[in-house]
C-alpha cells in the first residue's frame, strides 16, 4: 500500500493584512519542505523572503537570476533571509523548495521560483549556513504587507 508522499502540513489564507506568516513546530518526518504562495501583497514587484528557526542574523546567502521582459540579470550576497519568491498587488505564484530540512549535518539549501506575470520572472538559490534541523519557517513580504486573500501552503515530501 503506498504511503503519502506529498503531504499538506498547513494551509493559511489571510483574512486581513499581515506582514508575515510563520509555520512552526514543523514535523521532522519528511525529506524536503515545499512552501507554495499566492502572494497577494500591497506593493507591486515585491519579494517574499524566508527565515528559519527565528534566525534573523546574517547567516543566509543567495544567488538570484531574473528577467524583467527587457533584460536579464543576476545578483548575489549575504543577507538576513533567503528568497521565497515574489508578491504583488495582482498576485503571484511562488514555490520554495527546502531540501533536507531535517538533516543535522548540512547547511540548508533552498530553490525558489517567483513569477509575477506583470513584472518579473525569477529563480533563486538560498543557503542557511546552519546545520540545525528546521522547525519553523517564516515568510515575510520584504517591502509591503500581504493582503487579505493571500495564501500560503506548506507541504512535506516523503523521505
Amino acid at each position: 500500500m503506498p504511503s503519502p508522499t506529498y503531504v499538506p502540513l498547513a494551509n493559511v489564507t489571510l483574512g486581513s493584512t499581515a506582514s508575515s506568516v510563520t509555520f512552526s513546530s514543523i514535523s521532522q518526518s519528511y525529506r524536503d519542505l515545499i512552501v507554495i504562495t499566492n502572494g497577494l501583497c500591497t506593493v507591486t514587484g515585491d519579494e517574499s523572503v524566508a527565515q528559519y528557526n527565528g534566525d534573523t542574523a546574517s547567516n543566509y546567502s543567495f544567488v538570484q537570476m531574473y528577467g524583467t521582459g527587457s533584460s536579464a540579470a543576476s545578483n548575489s550576497g549575504n543577507n538576513t533571509f533567503v528568497g521565497a519568491g515574489r508578491c504583488s498587488t495582482s498576485g503571484t505564484t511562488s514555490i520554495l523548495h527546502i531540501f533536507d530540512y531535517s538533516a543535522t549535518n548540512k547547511h540548508k539549501t533552498s530553490l525558489s521560483r517567483g513569477d509575477n506575470g506583470g513584472t518579473i520572472s525569477s529563480a533563486q538559490v538560498g543557503r542557511w549556513a546552519n546545520t540545525a534541523a528546521i522547525t519553523s519557517v517564516k515568510i515575510t513580504a520584504l517591502s509591503g504587507v500581504y493582503s487579505a486573500g493571500a495564501t500560503f501552503a506548506l507541504y512535506g515530501v516523503a523521505a
Binding site: T5, V63, Y66, N75, D100, H107
Partner: protein, 185 residues
Amino acid sequence: MYIPFGVFSAGAGTTAFTSDYDLISSTILGSDTSLISFDLTGLGSTYKHLQLRYVARSSSGSTPDYIYSRFNGVSSSTYTAHWMYGNGSSVLTNYATNSNLFYAGWDSASSLATGAFGAGILDLVDVFSTTKNKTMRSLSTSVNNIVLMSGAWNATTLVTSMTLQNYSGGNFITGSRFSLYGIKG
C-alpha cells in the same frame, strides 16, 4: 469523526489511501560514490513521469560541477542540452548538442564551505513513452550559481535505467542524497 486531510476513510478490506506521486527510492550516501544507478525496469506500467530530487556535493574542486546522466547506458551522441544560469553577477547561457551524455543539473564543489550542498529537481516527462524522444527540465544549484536546464535524449527507446555521475570525474560525497519519485498519469 475527523478525517485527516489526504486520507480517505473506507470500509474494512478496501484500500484506505491512493497516491499518484510515489517515492520509488531514496538513497543517502554513506561513503563517497562515483556512480548513482536507477533500475527503471517495469516502472512504465505504473508511472508516466519521473522526478528526481537531489542534494549533492562533488569531491572535485571544480565549481560548479555538472551532474550528467545516461539512459540505458547509451553513450552515443544522441543527447542535447541547453541551459541558462546566474552566477551572481550575470546571466549566461550554453548548450551541448549531439553529446554522448545529457546534463541533468549542477552540484556543489569541494571548495565550498563544509556543509554546503548543491541541490536540484529534475523532471522527466513521458519518460516511458516508446513513441517520443525523452525530454527533461531541471532547476538546480551549485550554491554559488543557479541554473535552468533542459535536455533531450533523441531516442524513442523504452527507458529501463538511468545513471548519474559528476562531469569532473569526482565522487558524490557522503551525505549526498538522491530521491526518485514516480508520477502517474
